[in-house]
């Protein structure tokens, strides 16, 4: 936790363990990254990048939870699991988090819709960037239209993931 004054009220004097408070978000994002270990042999990029979705959700749900550098270790893990060139998600995720920080300090009004908008921009940026990196590292001529369906349902999946994340978050902060 970065802000020391941002204290959650524990139930009847019990504090959740430190591991639960800091570890849960990291572990959920990592689990999202290794969804690719499911025995699905996909013929086209159809699976939404769950690691990215969970990262954005946690970032927008709990702005005080992480600093921007968290994109590096989590991105590296995602690269190891996803088949993208190493460094691709490291770069894209960290840049996304820095950009969200920058946007957040300028936005006056924020609600759920603005969060979704920010997430949409971030998802499009990360998937398109992933395509670009796959193309320049020997991936051949990949067309952007190929990932359009993936982008679409990743954006549409965002509200659902936010709900589930909020549910996990409630468990996380309540001892």
């Amino acid at each position: 936790m970065i802000d020391s004054h941002f204290q959650h009220v524990p139930r009847l004097g019990r504090h959740p363990s430190r591991l639960r408070l800091t570890g849960t978000p990291v572990i959920t994002v990592m689990l999202g990254s290794i969804v690719t270990a499911l025995p699905v042999i996909a013929q086209s990029p159809v699976m939404p990048p769950f690691g990215l979705l969970l990262l954005l959700t946690w970032r927008l749900l709990r702005p005080e939870l992480w600093r921007a550098w968290i994109g590096l270790p989590l991105g590296l893990f995602d690269d190891m699991a996803s088949g993208q060139p190493i460094g691709s998600a490291m770069f894209l995720w960290t840049v996304t988090l820095i950009a969200i920080d920058a946007v957040e300090s300028r936005m006056v009004w924020r609600s759920y819709r603005q969060d979704w908008l920010i997430a949409t921009a971030a998802i499009i940026f990360c998937i398109a960037g992933g395509v670009f990196f796959a193309r320049i590292t020997g991936g051949g001529d990949v067309k952007l239209i190929l990932v359009a369906p993936q982008m679409l349902w990743t954006v549409l999946l965002f509200p659902f993931v936010v709900r589930q994340c909020a549910r996990i978050d409630r468990w996380r902060v309540m001892a």
Binding site: I2, A42, S44, E64, L72, G139
Partner: protein, 306 residues
């Protein structure tokens, strides 16, 4: 709703420095990530060692899940077959009648082939098969089409080896780790396979499109010689793939380019076979004899390297 509490640390020097440092770390890290990608441009398999950890860690889970769900992947096919079941049944029965005669003919031809080969004293010594394994996972969220094979370096799998299923070609080995290997599928946009038309050997090049189909370009100049329904097999040129492995069937023509669909669907096949590189198979002689480094260039097929 107002915006969330500002992350500006106010007048606290320590907090200011800490926030600044976190951005410095993030920026530096992003630059390092970009550098790693740039390195990967020149050496795409260079950091394969980093992937070993996740590949090996997730292998048991993938294998267990694969054993549980191998029936589920074909559920769409099962449902679809109820549609028009009656007329399909009649058509299939006719097909079986027609095929029965063909099978008898083919058996006779096979017998004759065997006899003729004996006459020629050609001994069929097909030592190309290395092992049989299963595909357990894939890069389903990336644009690269890589599948993970449940066998690796310790089982003798090496990068570049062709992978096939009974129905046709699957791809070739891209990266190996001790117990798993990544297979570059036929439909990956960087996988180029020299093919020929099965009935008259028109040469062509097949490139993946990343969406489950292939782009077929004929090597002959002039107008596109292909038409929908043409069957493509590997030509053996280049020395990676054995000749005559079924590859794809052409479904659509657009000007100079033909579009094909792979015959073997990696998500449906039960097990795949890893073969030795074609060149290795045909140039392999006495296993005790020292292998010259130049052995690869004088393959009996006389094929020039790609």
């Amino acid at each position: 709703m107002a915006r969330p509490p500002s992350r500006r640390p106010g007048h606290n020097r320590k907090a200011q420095y800490s926030l600044f440092a976190s951005y410095v770390v993030a920026m530096t890290g992003a630059a390092v990530g970009l550098l790693l990608v740039v390195v990967a441009i020149f050496d795409p398999t260079g950091f394969a060692a980093i992937r070993i950890a996740t590949a090996e860690m997730t292998r048991p889970a993938s294998v267990t899940l694969k054993n549980m769900v191998s029936g589920v992947s074909s559920i769409d096919e099962v449902l679809a077959s109820y549609w028009q079941a009656g007329s399909q049944n009649v058509a299939l029965r006719r097909q079986v009648e027609a095929d029965r005669n063909r099978i008898i003919e083919a058996k006779a031809v096979a017998q004759e082939n065997l006899r003729l080969k004996k006459l020629l004293k050609l001994v069929e010594d097909d030592g190309s098969q290395l092992l049989t394994a299963r595909l357990i996972a894939s890069s389903s969220s990336s644009t690269r089409r890589l599948a993970r094979l449940n066998a690796g370096r310790w089982q003798g799998v090496r990068p570049g080896m062709p992978v096939r299923a009974p129905e046709g070609l699957i791809g070739r080995i891209h990266i190996t780790t001790p117990n798993t290997a990544e297979v570059l599928l036929l439909t990956d946009t960087s996988n180029i396979v020299p093919v020929r038309r099965a009935n008259d050997s028109v040469p062509a090049i097949s490139t993946g499109l990343g969406d489950g189909t292939l782009e077929i370009r004929a090597l002959a100049a002039g107008r596109n010689p292909f038409k929908p329904g043409d069957l493509l097999v590997t030509s053996g040129i280049g020395g990676v793939y054995q000749p005559n492995i079924p590859v794809a069937v052409i479904v659509r023509i657009e000007g100079e380019i033909a579009y094909g669909v792979p015959l073997a669907n990696p998500s449906k096949v039960d097990a795949v076979v890893v073969e030795r590189s074609f060149e290795e198979t045909v140039t392999r002689t006495d296993p005790n004899a020292p292998v010259e480094p130049e052995a690869g260039t004088n393959a009996p097929s006389g094929a020039p390297p790609p």
